[in-house]
Amino acid sequence: MQKAKKERIRPLPLNEQWKQIGSKIAKGFSRIGKSFQRFIARFKDGSVGTKISHFICGFGNLSKKQYAKGILFLGLQVIFLLFMISSPEVNSTPFGWKSLGNMITLGTEAGDLFNPTDNSMLMLLFGVVTVGVIAVFVLVYFSNIKSSYEGDLLIRKGKRVPTFKEDIASLFDSRFHVLMLTPAMLGVLLFTVLPTLFMILIAFTNFDAEHVPGQHLIDWVGFANFAAIFQGTGEISARFLPVLTWTLTWAFFATFTNYISGILLALLINRKGIKFKKLWRTVFILTIALPQFISLLAMRNLLSLHGPINSALVQLGLLSSPIEFLGQATNAMTARITILVINLWIGIPYTMLMTSGILMNVPTDLYEAAMIDGATKRQAFTNITVPYILFVTAPYLITSFIGNITSFNIIFLLTGGDPVVPGFKAGQTDLLVTWLYSLTIEESEVNIGSVIAIFTFLITATATLISYRRSKSYKEEDAFQ
């Protein structure tokens, strides 16, 4: 078989990559500048109604007899202003404009035995929520101006402005994407962006076991928590690098072993001559049907010192006496290898299923052409099957790697992070996520937990971006299509 000439796509030199990044940043600033220019141009060019819309939302629509739309925009502005000015309180902590000041001070009333203390965490949270509300209102504000200006343009062209009914109808037609994406974006803002921002801000405070909100005022401490990783004798400075190293090692080997094993298993089941293929696939799928935590707890019991596996190994003569495989293992490597092996049970079925589906969809004419060209079965496997599988599963590899970095269940349920490292909270099998769980939930060291969460995010985000952008499935997507 003649090998097709592969055009190797070489990565750009480093200085060219920096130039690309720089030009993208410049483009970003340029876009912001253009937005401001557009804003000013609309004000100058717009009708009187549009100009007033910059101060009273919906006025432009009302002046064009778009009453429903105008009242909607005006109503949203009124609600926003009421929210900001009246500063409603929950648990004696205000929202609105007061929350913005509170977010900076994190409270001033220290309280005493008979008077309440300002709750710094609620103040921070409500400040973040108020920032979110402001961000949403800014979008509404610009939408109001855009709507009025577009009406002006239509009138100048001699056309009529759309009615409210027509606007609603367009949401189910030409602007269907707006209807679908708006709730999703609001959900992302509410359940992802705001909590993430809150968590990031906590990393810059002294919110720990000795500073309990409601009993103490919390203070901003700048980058002190981040600096603690590289200085001092505390837990985070001593254990951060070892835990990070194990996390990346675990993620690599867990992904690699599951991936290769799943592919091999799928290839084995798909071989010609293997009978009852569906049965074998079903057997392995059953492990997915069982909730993961049940499997893991069962594994933990099976591998306990006086459990059936130890008993069997002793009776077979493979062990002279029972040994601890997991949290109480005398050797950390024993526990780590055991976890990796158990992880195969959890992860192989997914890879096996996916690979089975891919194998069934490899174009058979490729194999026929290879046979005609005189290729052996091994050549066909290595030059057609493997590249095809790798190409399709590259995104899965990346998500699997990221998933294993943040794999909580298996470590928490099997070992709890143990074997212990005497003198420290983080054990020998702790990942960053399990460590931050014990720091925040068990020790109330919330600020340090936030720092670890930020580092985890930076690692996973960086790994994701670099790996995916370098993968062929990203670069050669068009060619593959």
Binding site: E210, V212, T233
Partner: protein
């Protein structure tokens, strides 16, 4: 037609408002957290309290009382996560006092004089010292003790008799003969694995160990000759395959039930599991004594010195939420719940060891020849050999002692897996690190 529809809607709205307005207001709920083993008992007693109140007063008791089963070990932490949503009264071990009153305090002081009088009259001095704290320069009483607890020995009567369990050597000899484990600890934390660290010279109760004495952080000392000797003895015990050990991954209950371990150090909260494991073979005793040998003696300690295993003695106490809108009735409820009569009923119904100082003498059920009475008697006897956890003075003491890795460093001495703690100097060096953690929360630089 439009006017008719409008009038009909308006009429319906008025009727709805009237119905809502005239509906009697639901009573607010007053929540009490107690240990899971006694939630039913205390709910029954609070129902009786409310019934008696209603019978003796013109107006009804203003709240619905809800007694909720709660893990008292984590109650303080859960309460502090969201005090506003927390219970009005809850149960905590006294060592949580420091974190609860830190800063401006999350709990309210006791101010009702009859309740203060009852607390002072009914409780031993050791408990009275640990239920008070200073906030804003003034000392207040915050806790109302009602349950006491201590570590004791659960043992298998199939293998051990009452004489053998008086000493670790006695249990150890039987374990060697039967090829079993003499003892397992239910946990390796600083509470469940404290029997060596807190041990005292048997003849006079002396120990050089100091833990935040008088509430002062610097009054902490753990490198005395007796501590080093005791840990050396403990190392011999834990390194022997028939000696002591941390419970395996199969669990102490399995090891006790299958006869793999002859005894377990545990508390009253382990009683049900121990009884399930051993049934009628369950024996209960005070923690045994042990004798320092020439191998173990260090410095001023002489071979042949007998030590009594020690324990932290705990009181579980009721505390009140600060700023509760039901403050008018909370202290009256506490007066009722912590009375010695109620403590006796609680012991009879739920085997809660009373905090009341004369319970062993006055409560009839504690005189009986039952396993529950034996459990109570063993704990009461351990009070003479133990100290109340001294961590309630400051929030950080509890954290420094339990949560900064010190218990694992002590366990490393006992297990000596790699041989790096074989000499007295090595043990002392490790305990110096432990002492630094107790004092500062961090290992030495």
């Amino acid at each position: 037609m439009k006017m008719k529809s409008f009038l009909l809607l308006a009429l319906l709205a008025i009727v709805a408002f009237v119905i809502v307005g005239c509906t009697p207001k639901e009573k607010a709920t007053l929540t009490i957290w107690v240990g899971a083993e006694s939630a039913d008992f205390y709910q029954l007693k609070m129902d009786e309290y409310v019934a008696e109140y209603n019978a003796n007063n013109d107006k009804e008791f203003p709240y619905i009382i809800d007694v909720v089963a709660s893990d008292t070990g984590s109650a303080a932490g859960r309460f502090l996560d969201d005090p506003d949503a927390g219970p009005d009264i809850f149960t905590v071990a006294h060592d949580n006092l420091g974190r609860l009153v830190a800063g401006s305090s999350a709990i309210a002081p006791i101010t009702l004089q009859p309740l203060l009088d009852q607390i002072n009259a009914d409780n031993p001095e050791g408990f009275l010292n640990v239920i008070k704290a200073t906030v804003g320069g003034t000392e207040y009483t915050f806790g109302v003790p009602y349950v006491a607890q201590s570590l004791i020995l659960y043992y298998n009567k199939q293998y051990l008799n009452e004489t053998q369990v008086q000493t670790w050597e006695g249990i150890w000899d039987v374990a060697k003969t039967e090829n079993k484990r003499a003892m397992v600890v239910t946990g390796t934390d600083g509470f469940n694995n404290s029997f060596l660290l807190l041990s005292r010279r048997a003849n006079d109760g002396f120990t050089s160990l100091r833990l935040y004495e008088n509430g002062v952080q610097e009054n902490t000392f753990g490198t005395g000759d007796d501590t080093i000797s005791v840990l050396k003895w403990g190392q011999r015990f834990f390194m022997d395959p028939n000696g002591g050990a941390q419970a395996s991954s199969s669990g102490w209950e399995v090891e006790l039930k299958d006869g793999l371990a002859l005894s377990v150090i545990g508390g009253a909260w382990h009683f049900n599991a121990a009884q399930s494991a051993l049934g009628s073979n369950l024996g209960i005793a005070v923690l045994p004594q042990f004798t320092i040998t020439a191998q173990d003696a260090y410095g001023t300690v002489t071979a042949g010195t007998v030590y009594q295993s020690g324990s932290f003695t705990d009181t579980k106490m009721f505390v009140m939420k600060k700023g509760s809108d039901k403050a008018d009735v909370l202290q009256q409820i506490l007066l009722y719940l912590s009375s010695k009569e109620m403590q006796e009923l609680s012991f009879n119904a739920a085997d809660n060891l009373p905090a009341y100082k004369n319970a062993a003498v006055e409560f009839a059920k504690m005189q009986e020849n039952t396993i529950e009475a034996a459990l109570a008697a063993a704990q009461v006897e351990m009070f003479a050999n133990g100290i109340p956890q001294p961590f309630g003075f400051q929030a950080r003491y509890n954290t420094y002692y339990y949560s900064k890795g010190a218990p694992d460093l002590i366990l490393a001495i006992l297990r000596n897996t790699t041989g790096e703690f074989s000499t007295f100097e090595q043990i002392k060096a490790q305990m110096t690190i432990v002492e630094t953690i107790w004092k500062t929360g961090n290992q030495p630089a």
